[in-house]
Each structure stands twice: as structure tokens, then as C-alpha cells.
Point group: C2
Amino acid sequence: MQITRQADYALRAMLYLAREYPKKDERAATSKIAEEQEIPASFLAKIISQLSIAGLIQTSRGAKGGVRLARKPEEISLLDVVEAIDGPISLNECVDDPSVCSFGDNCPIHDVWCEAKAQLVRKLRDATFDKLLEKENAKV
Amino acid sequence: MQITRQADYALRAMLYLAREYPKKDERAATSKIAEEQEIPASFLAKIISQLSIAGLIQTSRGAKGGVRLARKPEEISLLDVVEAIDGPISLNECVDDPSVCSFGDNCPIHDVWCEAKAQLVRKLRDATFDKLLEKENAKV
DNA sequence: GTATTTTCTATCTTTATGGTAGAAAATATA
DNA sequence: TATATTTTCTACCATAAAGATAGAAAATAC
């Protein structure tokens, strides 16, 4: 049970953009992000596109174009990014769609998955990019 | 991010066997488990085999053969079953194998995944089958 | 208007999942 | 002991998703 490589790459890219966020008027080139964050350059294009559709970043083409965060780092969490790429974190099919399982509310396992999901989601929602940058700076 | 169907089926099968556990000398037939728990019968064979290798159940062939838990319900948790089928719950590659990521300890995201994993593992380890049966009985 | 820099999208390969059917093994019973 | 029965076990296949790439499309600077 893991997030996809795409989601991991997306997180790296977003972390990079969060660092660059103070430089208000600049946009980062995809190629630059790929190099710095060790992401296959041609693979990052697809990920950038998805993040853009999800409204997490703004993109612009052409010379001087590039990518930047669509909103402040404190308004973006790990959950936002992971769900934008991998879809909802359900842990088990029945959590997000109880109709797939005929046992429904009688199943004691169902409850555990629901609690586990809630707990995980809380953790990831709490991890906003401003907090991550703070931690990073504290380490150095 | 979900467990596989196999893992879900394995949980259902184990829940059934936990209910049957008091009948000390009987063994449940795979076909019976499949029918009761709504699992594709021929698919369950593969899952039973994996659970047996993992030491969670005892199997015996032939007439009067079948399957039963290898130890008490209170000594088996959801974590045991899920990991036996799907492998370790790592949430992200870097959690169980930090060498795959060159950023290592400098990465603030890594820490979040480690905490999230620990939290999830704790939850699943705490959910033993005797507790699940208790809950089930309380509902009826 | 053209060249350059960038995002975007259609396509391919590989891997894993979900599922099946038939072989092999073991026991009860005649 | 032979045979029929009941079961586990294993090799196989089809489908879908993931990972990755190269070339098309778009926008801007000059």
C-alpha cells in the first residue's frame, strides 16, 4: 500500500515551488524543477498538467513562462497534492463506496478502515507546506 | 492508495475462521468460506495458500480436511493479514528503504510519511480478531 | 514574422492485479 | 488395499494501470 511514484514526484515538485514562492514574479521552468528534485524530466510534464487542472499551480507557456504555486504554502497540504494525483485515500474500497460490499454496517472491519482513513487524512491535511519549510530550515 | 482485493478477501476469510474458532476440532472448507463471505471460490485458493505460508492458518487436505486459524483470534491482527498478502505498509517508498531517495534526512516530507505509517500500523495492530468479534456481537 | 522556450497530449512498454481451470495430494470408506 | 471423494495447490491468461517518452501545440521575446 503506497502512493504512486507520480504522487511522490508531485510532492517534490510542490516542495520546490514552495521554496521559490517568495520570489513573487518569477516562474520556475519544469526542466529546472526536474533537475533539482531528481524527477524524470519528460515524466514531470504530465504531473505538472494534473496539478494545474487541480488548481494547485499556475502555468504559463512561452519564453519567461513556467510554473508557480496557485496559492500560499500555508494553504496547501500534502493531502491536496496526493489526492490531486492518486485520487482519494480510501485504504479500502468499502470506505468511500459502501455499496460495493453487501455486508455493509454489519462488518466490524469496515469501521476500522474508516477510522484509519480519518486518522491518516487528518495527518496529511495538517502537513502544510509552510510547516514543511520551517522544519527544513530548522534542520540546517 | 488502497489495499488489494486479495487483502480484503483475506480479511473476510480470517473473520469467518475467527467465528468458527471455538469449534476446536472442525475445519472449514474453502468452498464454504467462499460462499459465505462472497469471495470468488477459485481465487480464494491462492489467498489461502499465502495465509498458510505466512503461518496465520493451518490447512489439511483430503476428506474432513480444511482450514482453521493457526493461533487464537486475540493473537492475530488486521496488520498481520494485510502484510501477509500485500507486503509491508510503507505508504511511500522512502519509508521502508531510505536509500532510494538521495535527499534522505534533509527531506521534511519523509518525516511525515514515517509518522503516518507508524500511526496506521498501530491502529491495525490494535485491531485483533477477538475485538472485531466482540464488536460484531454488540451490534446484533 | 520568426525563432525560442515552454507546456501539453497521444502513444508505447512494462508490470501488477484479478481471475480461472486443471493437477496433485490426502483421507475416508468399502 | 483400492477407489472415490474432497481438498489444497500451482501454472496460466486476460485485463488494466503505472511508468515513461517523444513529438505537437502554444505563447512570448526580439
